[in-house]
Structures are given as C-alpha cells and as structure tokens.
Amino acid sequence: MSQLDYLQRLEAESIHIFREVIAECEKPVMLYSVGKDSSVMLHLALKAFAPAKPPFPLLQIASGWDFREMLAFRDAISKKHAWELLVHTNEEGARAGVKPWTHGAAYSDIMLTQALRQALDKYGFDAAFGGGRRDEEKSRAKERVFSFRSAQHRWDPKNQRPELWSLYNARKNRGESIRVFPLSNWTELDVWQYIHLQQIPIVPLYFAKPRPVVRRDGRLIMVDDDRLPLGKDDRVQTLSVRFRTLGCYPLTGATMSTAADVPAVIREMLSTKNSEREGRGVDKDGSASMERKKQEGYF
C-alpha cells in the first residue's frame, strides 16, 4: 500500500483516466450535469491538464425542467474558467409538449436519453466523460471505466472489454463511442469529503434553506417556477429542505434538512438511512430498470 491516503490515490487515478482519453481519443467532451459529481469531475479535469486548460468543452443536456439555480450556476462556472459550454435540448420533444407529468417514464427517455444521443451525434464526439460511480447502483458496479457504446448508443453489459490494471483500451470502430467514468471508484461520501477538503463550489441546492415545496407521491417537490401544475388539494409549504441528487425539478425529491454547509451535509450523511437514489423518480420502476435504461443509452 502507498503512503498516499486513499483520496489522493483516487484523485491520481481519475487524473490518469482523463489524460488517457485526451491522448487516445479524437473529440472528447465532458457531460456536465451541474451536480456534485460533475463539480468534482470538473475540478479533477482542471488539475489533470494544469497549467494548460482542459482540451475539451462541457456539454449540458437541458431538459427545460432544470432547476433555475442549476442553470445560473452552470453559466457562472463556464464563465469563471472561460470553458466552452454547449447546451443541448431535444427541441422536437419540447415542441411536442413532453412534460415530466404527461409522459411518465418516456419523459426521461425523450428529454434526457435521446437528447444526449442527439447532442453526441450532432457534434461527433467520440468520448464523453460522465460522473457515474460504481457505488450508485448494482449494474454500475460492473460497468467498465471505459464503457463502449454502439453506433446506436447501446451498452451491451455482456460484451464488455476486460479492463486490467490501469491499461485502458480506447480503440474503437467507426461509429462507436466511449463513455468514460473517471469517478468509477469513488463513493458518495468520498465525493463529499473531497468537496470539503478541496473547497469545490457546488450548486446551493445541496444546502438546506427554506424552499416552497408540495408533497407528491410521498416526495417533496420544489415549486421552482409557475409551470408545475397544482391541484386544489396541493398545499405549497415553505420548508427547510435540501437535495441529495439533482435532476429535473418536478422529478427530484427534496429531503427535510437543516444542513446548510458541507460539514453539516457530511454529518447528516453519516447518520442517513436511505441511499441517494431514493429521491429520484427515474429509477423507481423495478430493480433492474437502471440496467435497462443504460442499455438504451441513458448515461
């Protein structure tokens, strides 16, 4: 074992992954979801290429139902680092009026999965960094760091390349692309500790403050703008809440909390009894659903 502590080892491993992609791929991009994992990924990319700037743009998939604070944070970060930001929305889906509560499970497929494929095809990116971690979900635990997608953006879990040592095979056939997960071996708690130690800025939605929410299917949904349909029984309350993960606001459940800074969030995490995905609407339907979504190209 090394004299480095484990966060230093994880950091060095992630930086190594970033550099392999830049050395072997033609047109990489970083998927920037504006969440905490993306923030850590962005910080690691800055380190990997310093004193140069990371040689790839950021790509955000805007569903049209993003938290306003996330969009403001996104723009501020891009400006701060003078880092090219590409934003893509599935305009067809938006025109067709696809909304989180009108299309059920199809919503995230159309506005997130398909939108991502459109963007990757549009710009011809051959490698995309994503913030996925193996501790998030059972099927992720088996996904490679360099995860191949067919020309149709499908993941074939039974046909993954062996990945030995830190030797990544980035060669691909025409039309194929790679999703690369530099945070594969990080856990949720590692991410928070690293944010704390490195003082990485994150979107304030992760911190508790009084916010307007309504109760939906047992979850607290924030009324981020006036598009959220409210029935006559819906009661908008102002509660001290924060978010453990962030997605489209009508689908992201808040948790009651008073944790207003990173140490308080970590303290809360150490005593929490539920996993972070519990707040997400997208992977509730059946325990194998995430694997299915990933095969279809969900990040």
Binding site: S2, D5, H16, Q160, P162, L164, S166, Q193, K273
Partner: protein
C-alpha cells in the same frame, strides 16, 4: 441487526466534530482485495455480509433486499445477502456471478475496494481482471468439500497476477458443526499445496457467511480458533507497496504544451520518487536531462512519489513523447523487443502463432507477434502442454516479439512496467493480457546492418518502382492465371518480376505447414517476409495466395512502405469457383476428404478496401490483367516515369 448509520462509525450520530472525522477518515489506507470461489461457496453472501455488517447498506436498499430475497432468493425467503452484490439482471436469473463487480466499504481502520469475481473455469478472464489490481485475495472453500481443483486454480491465478497475500476462508462451518478437525484437515492440505506455487503469506479462517461467524466478530461457535476474524485480518494485514522503495519510473501519458515556452510531461508515477534537480533518463532513446519543475494539480512541488499524477518539465529540450518512460538516470530499466511472457487469452477467437496484435504497456502501444507458444498451462494441474494456439481462458508461456523496443521490468517487480494487454487489430477488442518475465534479446545487442546499396539504388538501376501485388480470393478464383498473365506482360516490357504462388511455396519453404488456422497465419507470415525481401531487392513481386484472413493481409501491408502494397481482390463467388473446380479440390472438400478448406469449412474474409477489385463474373483473365497493368501505370510503378524521381 438493523441497517443503521453509514460507515460503521459514530461521528455523525454522536454529533462528533465533522472536521476531525474527515481528517481521521482521509488518512485511512486503501486495501484492494479480490474474492474468488465458485458459485456455491458463498462468495457473494460473504461480501453481502461484510457490506451489511460494515453498515454500508441503507434502509431502502435493505427493504429492496428483503423483497428480492422472497422473490428470487435461495434461502427460502430469509435475507439473502448474495443478492446485494449479484448485479446484472441476467446473473440474478441464472443465480451466478459472471462478471467482475466492484464494491466499496470502510471501517474505522481502512477503506476497501472489493473485486467480486466468478469462480468457474470459463470465467478465468474475469478473475484475472479482478486480480490485476488487488493487493490480497480471499479464496473461499466450502467446508463440506475441502480443497478442490478450482481452489488450486484460483490460488495459482492469484499468485500469477502478483498477489502475495492470500486468505483462505473456510466457509459454511455451520454446516459441518463447526468441526475443528475438518478445518485443520483443510488447512493442512492447503498449506501443502501452497508450497508448490510459492505462496508467501497465507492465513486460514473458519467462517460462516450466512450466519456471520468470524466475518466481523470472532464467533463463540469456534472456541478452538484463536486467530482474527476475516475483517480484523483485512484491517490489520501489512501489505507493503514494492513501488515505494524502487527507482523512479514514470510512463509519459501526454505531452502538455499550452504555449511554446512550456513543455510538460504528464504521467502517473509508477515507482520511486522524484525531486527537482534529479537526473532522469528518457527511454527507449537513452537521452538524459534533469527535472526542472514538478507540477501537481495544486501548483508546484519539490518532490512527488509513487501513485501521484504529475507533470514534469526538464532542463533540456530533448525529444520525449507519449509511451516513453522517464526513469532515474543511474538505474534505468532495460530496453528490449523480444520477451518470454505469460499470456492469458480472453477472447473466443484463439491466439495464433505468427499473427500480429497491438500490445499496450504503460502508455505505449506497439505491434506484437507471438512466436512460438512454448506451452499451455493446465490451470487445474499446472501441467505444461504443447500448443499452437491459445483458446479463451487458456494461459500460455510464449515468446513475444515487438515491432519496437520498449523499456520494461519483470511483472513480478512492477505491474505497470511488466503488465500488458493485447488488442485485436481489426475489431479492437481486448483479446488477451500478459506478464513480461524477461528479455530474450536486449535491443542494444541488435543493430541493423547499414547497407550502401539499397532499395532505392536498385530501383533506379532497373527503372521500376518495386512493389507487392497481393492476389487474394477463393481457391479456383483465377488468382494464379491472372498473376501469370500480368507477369508475362511485365516481363515482355523488360521489368524485373517474381511470382510467389501458394501451391509452389507449399512444396518448399512452407512444406512443414498444414491448413489449420495457425498454420495459415504462419504460411502468410513467411510469404510476406519473403515478398518484403524481394521488394527490397527491387522486384515487382506477385503473391498469389488464398490468404483468407484480413489480419494477415494487413500484417503483410505493414511490412513495406506506403504505396508498395497493392491488394488485388480476385472476386469470384464461391459457387462459381466451386463450379470450375479445376483441381477437383472442392469435390474432395465436400466429401470431407480435405479439412479446413476455405469457403467450405474454413472462413474467407473478403478485403474491405482493396486497391483493385476484379469481378471475374464480368472480366476475362486478359481484361483483368490489363486492368492491373493500367493501375500500375497510373500509380507510377511502371511506364516512362516509372523509376523513382531522383
């Protein structure tokens, strides 16, 4: 026990100081270990149990687990911890683990990354993958069954991949009434076996993953056992990193050039340490310089150590590129291009002697050819067996030859400098992994003989540009007929030519080769090398061989310079070639008298992008030959200006 607070520590709940908690937690060491054992040995149950007892399971996950246990569990509805870790849907249906899954947990003392790997022989490659990054292996033995063939296989593979610490967890002790005799017998037998594979550090622990005995806490059911619980052992075992005391090595991943003034060499330090002012040697070139500056992600540093990702600048402007290795100037690694290595084959298509693959080691990718395979290892008995190919999950000791010399160290000394993967040049799949043992020929002893009369001067003298016309197609397609017509025409024009014909060469140079895939590969390799020598001699060489595999044709192409290889696809459908059957070979093959006949029971891979494609269903042999001559004129190989422009 209820799934409680995360992390197995009280900092959060007791309101302990978070800063102090993070400080303490951050300084933990990381231990990567591998678990292996067969489906029934309870491996997944053991990991599930470890995660559960280390309080890594959240309430919602525990609720889902209870539901799943009733639906698909194997314990009659009782909580089945194996379901926590058997991830992919297909695996859950079949009730087996077929891939490598990575798990994370931590305790008060250490943080752990667990590679959970399958046990069956057909998943050797998955186990090897998991073992490649592990410091320690936990091998499960079912107490009712004792040391099995697969126990020996797992132990052999773990030590082969450089794991020096092995824990044998004798599981299901509850099903043998916690018998000390049974445990002792298994331990004795295993220790006897361990001597044969030079296992260095071994610990045996009696456990029950389902009940929880000796997993995290020592069990009252095994009063005769005085050693640590499994978790206690994992928390305390000392696993020194050999990379720390070793001399400095860093493969250069990427050259960082943000502006003309800055040229930094980025990489992860494989071993040793580096300080400002240290003398370094660049390999394979051998040039030296000193370290000017060291950049980490957090600015400049005076010193960096093994495991860190850094960017170095050098005091002198010397040539360094991706794949080179920066090393301590006074103790550089050796450089070589021919090695003995162990290869673990990981693909359905076999490894063939003589076929060229891409080899990636550190940050370098070179072309590698295996020739010969010395023997295959029977992983169950460790016997050596003669072999001409390696199939999926086979392990063999081979001679491997590289297109370019590389700096290296034996795998047992350095995983980074001695571990490699093999990549198929057509599909780009990772098809094998390997461990370098030693160099057979140091490159410093081999020099190309510099010759004064060269290809160019010979070509000028003969007023032609040497090249290879490579005819490929089914037997009976008309390759030799067309090649013969082309040669007659060229000869009449006063060109210097030679025709290498498949049948003729097999009577002499290649008479020791048959028609199995590995023989076909070797057949083409020899012919390609001969053709290259002839091009060097200034000839226009016609090669008329079925040459069914793309990968060998590509290999032949790489032997000569760009533009010197002209692939001629004699495109005759199989049905037509068979209808002609001038030599009666198809009839014999159909009767089963000829084995491995291309098109009948051996594949033909048509060229994807040949220089010339001849459709013989519309072209006569004469028209086809004229087409080739016309191509050669256009390409400047022959004609008034055919000699190389001086």
């Amino acid at each position: 026990m209820a799934a409680g607070a995360r992390g197995g520590e009280d900092a959060g709940r007791s309101g302990g100081d978070v800063e102090e908690y993070i400080e303490r937690n951050q300084r933990k060491e990381l231990l990567r270990f591998l678990t292996c054992g067969s489906v029934d040995d309870g491996k997944s149950s053991l990991i599930g149990r470890l995660l559960f007892e280390a309080n890594m399971i959240f309430d919602d996950q525990f609720e889902a687990l209870k539901d799943d246990s009733v639906k698909v569990g194997t314990l009659g509805g009782a909580v089945d911890f194996a379901l926590l870790v058997d991830g992919l849907a297909a695996e859950r249906e079949q009730g087996i683990t077929i891939d490598v899954a990575y798990r994370f947990f931590k305790t008060e003392k250490r943080k752990f990354i667990v590679a959970d790997t399958p046990g069956h022989e057909q998943y050797t490659r998955n186990m090897v993958t998991g073992a490649s990054t592990a410091d320690l292996a936990v091998i499960l033995i079912d107490a009712r069954k004792g040391v099995l063939t697969q126990t020996r296989r797992h132990s052999y593979l773990a030590t082969l991949l450089g794991i020096r610490h092995i824990v044998v967890a004798v599981n299901k002790m509850d099903l043998v009434d916690y018998s000390a005799d049974i445990f002792d017998k298994i331990e004795r037998e295993y220790r006897e076996f361990a001597k044969t594979i030079k296992l260095e550090a071994l610990t045996c622990i009696p456990v029950s993953a389902v009940v929880g005995d000796n997993v995290t806490l020592r069990s009252a059911s095994t009063p005769w056992y005085s050693g640590p619980s499994l978790l206690e052992h994992l928390e305390s075992v000392a696993v020194p990193d050999p990379a720390e005391g070793a001399p400095f090595r860093m493969p250069v991943q990427w050259v960082n050039r943000p502006n003309p003034e800055f040229r930094g060499f980025a990489g992860l330090i494989a071993s040793g340490a580096v300080r400002r002012g240290d003398a370094l040697r660049v390999l394979p070139s051998g040039r030296t310089s000193t370290v000017a500056r060291i950049f980490t992600g957090e600015g400049e540093a005076r010193e960096s150590v093994a495991g860190q990702s850094v960017t170095l600048t050098l005091a002198d402007e010397i040539d360094v590129s991706r794949g080179d290795v920066l090393a301590a100037a006074d103790s550089p690694p050796a450089v070589a291009n021919q090695f003995e290595a162990t290869v673990i084959w990981m693909h359905d298509d076999p490894l063939l002697q003589g076929r060229a693959y891409l080899l990636k080691i550190g940050a370098a990718t070179v072309i590698a050819t295996v020739s010969p395979i010395k023997y295959r290892v029977n992983v169950n008995t460790m016997e050596h067996i003669a072999a001409k190919k390696l199939d999926l999950n086979d392990i063999g000791v081979v001679v491997i030859e590289l297109s370019t010399a590389i700096p290296f160290e034996p795998y047992q000394d350095s995983r980074v400098m001695g571990g490699f993967i093999l990549i198929d040049r057509l599909t780009y799949n990772t098809v094998g992994a390997g461990l370098l043992h030693f160099a057979l020929r140091r490159s410093q002893n081999v020099h190309w003989q510099a010759l004064d009369v060269n290809k160019r001067s010979r070509a000028v003298l003969s007023h032609q540009k040497p090249c290879i016309l490579w005819f490929t197609g089914f037997s009976g397609a008309g390759k030799s007929t067309i090649a013969n017509l082309v040669e007659k025409q060229l000869h009449a024009d006063g060109r210097h030519t030679y025709l290498l014909d498949g049948d003729n060469v097999r009577h002499g140079l290649n008479k020791d080769l048959g028609f199995a895939d590995q023989d076909r590969v070797e057949n083409i390799r020899r012919v390609a090398e001969v053709a290259r020598l002839m091009v060097d001699a200034g000839l226009i060489v016609m090669v008329s061989f079925i040459s069914p595999f793309r990968s060998e044709r590509r290999m032949a192409r790489t032997l000569v310079e760009a533009g010197e290889f002209i692939e001629v696809f004699v495109d005759t459908p199989l049905s037509q070639a068979e209808a002609r059957d001038a030599k009666g070979l198809y009839k014999k093959a159909r009767r089963g008298e000829l084995k491995n006949f291309t098109g009948i029971d051996s594949p033909y891979e048509a060229p994807e992008d040949p220089e010339i494609r001849l459709d013989t269903t519309v072209l006569t042999p004469e028209a086809a030959a004229s087409r080739i001559i016309a191509y050669m004129r256009e390409a400047g190989i022959i004609g008034a200006n055919s000699a190389w422009d001086i």
